[in-house]
């Protein structure tokens, strides 16, 4: 898989790169991706099925140089991560549904403060305690909308242990590029699946360094953004004496309780992602050239979908796969274009209808949209997806 982000890149620090061919599960691979991306601070709280990421990080980091701390809860974990970012570290936390729910307020703080960080959600079945050890994909809308107020984040969804490595690096790179919290939306199957993971040499891994200001103290304003809508950063201890708040703030970072200031700030927080969506969107397309039916899937469900598409092709139905690698922002333009020329979309997901809402919205009635729901605890029976493809092709 090609990494999409290209500019302002540096080579990975070889200390964090476990070059070689490994047999790893998705969780371990995610931890290796974080280390390769330069993550040197991890605060977390144990929760199935994400715990192995924390365990791997805790085991590896003392030999690399960095901090692992198990916090008292998920509220503390995400707060510590944001604090660590302002101290100058690349930082992450990991969790699953219940813990992610607890983190939501401070995910909003990270969006508001524009603190680049990575939050991994190894999804299990919900709601509430749900199915702790079994798969779900029902936090997709939470990832997009879970904290209060208007903001936008980036979310990625790996379909294999290899992608857990690759996309964790990508998640860190996006977080630094756009100064947003980036969510890696794994699922229990991908997290606990063992496969070959190839970790390249450090000189073949590109990581994005933090965009620190070149202005001296006195001239620097923490939230003055250029054309790309992303302000440059500073870190604590460098003499800038800056102020950062979760309140609506002006370019100086000072609270400013006015409609105008709020308008400017919220628009920028959303637009820096919304208006760059086409650069961020990342999908994999298979057999879409001649497709009458598009199966849109992500994570583990995309692997089941592949089998269903093969079966459908055997039945003479021209089906293809649109796999979301970046889930948020949603590939609106791709669905719009496809909806003009295909008969229908089939969306298998391990929930009762989440990303399918986005497909319906973008298809806007130009093509049929069929949800293949699964409440969680297992992956789909491919036959259910085949039946939906047959239906969509009618």
């Amino acid at each position: 898989m090609q990494l999409k982000t290209v500019d302002r890149m540096t080579l990975a620090d070889p200390k964090g790169v476990l070059t070689g061919s490994h047999y790893l599960d998705g969780d371990f691979s995610c931890a290796e991706g974080a280390l390769a991306a330069g993550c040197r601070f991890f605060a977390g709280y144990p929760i199935t099925p994400s715990t192995e990421i924390a365990e791997r990080f805790a085991q590896r980091i003392p030999r690399i140089g960095g901090v692992f701390i198990q916090m008292e809860d998920e509220l503390a974990s995400i707060a510590a991560v944001i604090g660590a970012v302002w101290g100058g570290a690349k930082a992450m936390t990991v969790s699953s549904g219940p813990g992610i729910s607890l983190m939501m307020e401070n995910i909003g703080l990270a969006a508001m403060m524009e603190a680049p960080c990575v939050i991994v959600n190894v999804q299990r079945g919900g709601p509430s305690t749900g199915l702790p050890t079994m798969v779900g994909q029902a936090d997709m809308m939470q990832a997009r909308w879970g904290s209060h107020g208007d903001y936008q984040i980036i979310a990625l969804s790996p379909d294999s242990p290899q992608e857990c490595f690759d996309l964790t690096i990508e998640a860190f790179n996006y977080s630094e590029q756009y100064r947003v919290p980036v969510m890696l939306m794994m699922d229990e199957c991908v997290g606990h699946m063992y496969e070959r993971v190839t970790i390249p040499h450090a000189e073949d891994i590109r990581v994005r360094s933090r965009r620190y200001t070149t202005l001296p103290p006195g001239e620097y304003l923490p939230y003055r953004a250029g054309e790309d809508m992303v302000p440059d950063m500073v870190k604590a201890g460098d003499g800038y004496r800056f102020h950062i708040t979760g309140l609506t703030h002006d370019e100086r970072g000072y609270p400013a309780m006015t409609e105008e200031c709020h308008d400017q700030l919220v628009r920028r927080l959303v637009d820096k992602i919304r208006k760059n969506a086409q650069q961020i969107v990342h999908v994999e397309e298979e057999n879409l050239e001649d497709a009458d039916v598009v199966v849109m899937a992500y994570g583990i469900s995309s692997r089941v979908a592949r089998l269903a598409i093969q079966e459908a092709r055997k039945l003479g139905i021209k089906a293809g796969l649109l796999r979301l690698i970046v889930c948020w922002p949603f590939p609106e333009h791709i669905i719009r274009e496809l909806s003009a020329r295909v008969k229908g979309f089939v969306v298998p997901e391990i929930n009762y209808g989440q990303m399918v809402l986005e497909v319906e919205r973008c298809a806007a009635g130009r093509a049929k949209t069929i949800l293949v729901p699964h409440m969680g605890g297992n992956v789909h029976d491919p036959k259910d997806i085949v039946n939906a493809i047959v239906e969509a092709a009618k």
């Binding site: 707060a79 101290g87 570290a89 800056f242």
Partner: protein, 291 residues
Amino acid sequence: MNTVKTPEHPMTPFLRMDRMPHIWCPTCGIGIVVKCLAAALEDLTTDLDNVAIVSGIGCTGRVAGYVKLDSFHTTHGRAIPFATGLKLSNPKLKIIVVSGDGDLASIGGNHFIHAARRNMDLTVICVNNFIYGMTGGQLAPTTPPTAKTSTTPYGNYETPFNLAYLASACGAVYVARWTTLHMRNLIGSMKEALQKPGFSFIEVVAPCSTLYARLNKLGSGLDLMKYYHDNAVIAHDMEPKDAGISEFQGSVICGKFVDIERPTWMDETTKGLSAKLGTEYVPWGNGRSQE
């Protein structure tokens, strides 16, 4: 034409003068705490570039916004874990958490006890005004028995926290309590706490005339200062367990209750990992942070 030059406010180097006037009410005690903190840092001739301040939400949560340091106004209750991440990622920083009793002891209570247990290298200053000020005078975990608040209109019948006891029981290495009347003592304690590695905690009992005094018919902020004058008892080294503020308008026991030595989280972790991993261990810290 003659111009009269306004003399510079003595706290100008420490304050964001472009943010004045502040939001605090007349006779609020928070300003005194800020003044004392400035005096402590000045006396210690601390390089202010290496000091960061973290606040939560509430009246005291606004302190971070007015002091000219690297300053962070975070979410309700999360100042301590935020400060923990800041400290561990950039260990050269001296980190001061300044927040209110509701922020630190109610919604943030879990973080408070765990940071004390870990002996995280933070100085935590809690402005305790017995009430939720920012939201209009509701019950706090420190509200004395029978005191009225807007959510205990018939009086409070819960037992309040003895924050000094809580901090000491959880492992804080330095614990003191003063009122805003005790400025010299408070500055002295702040200086000691700032120089003490590990989790140091100072509780400052402070007047809230707009809400606490008004709801309880205690007069003005000045009357609350008179109450401190008449009822504060200085009892250094008193067992924190016995130093609670347990009665409405009762005595306020002040002093330094705890001043002990204990390795910090960073010390223990570095020592433990060095012993276990030997030369393989790559320490983090010594002012190093990742660019």
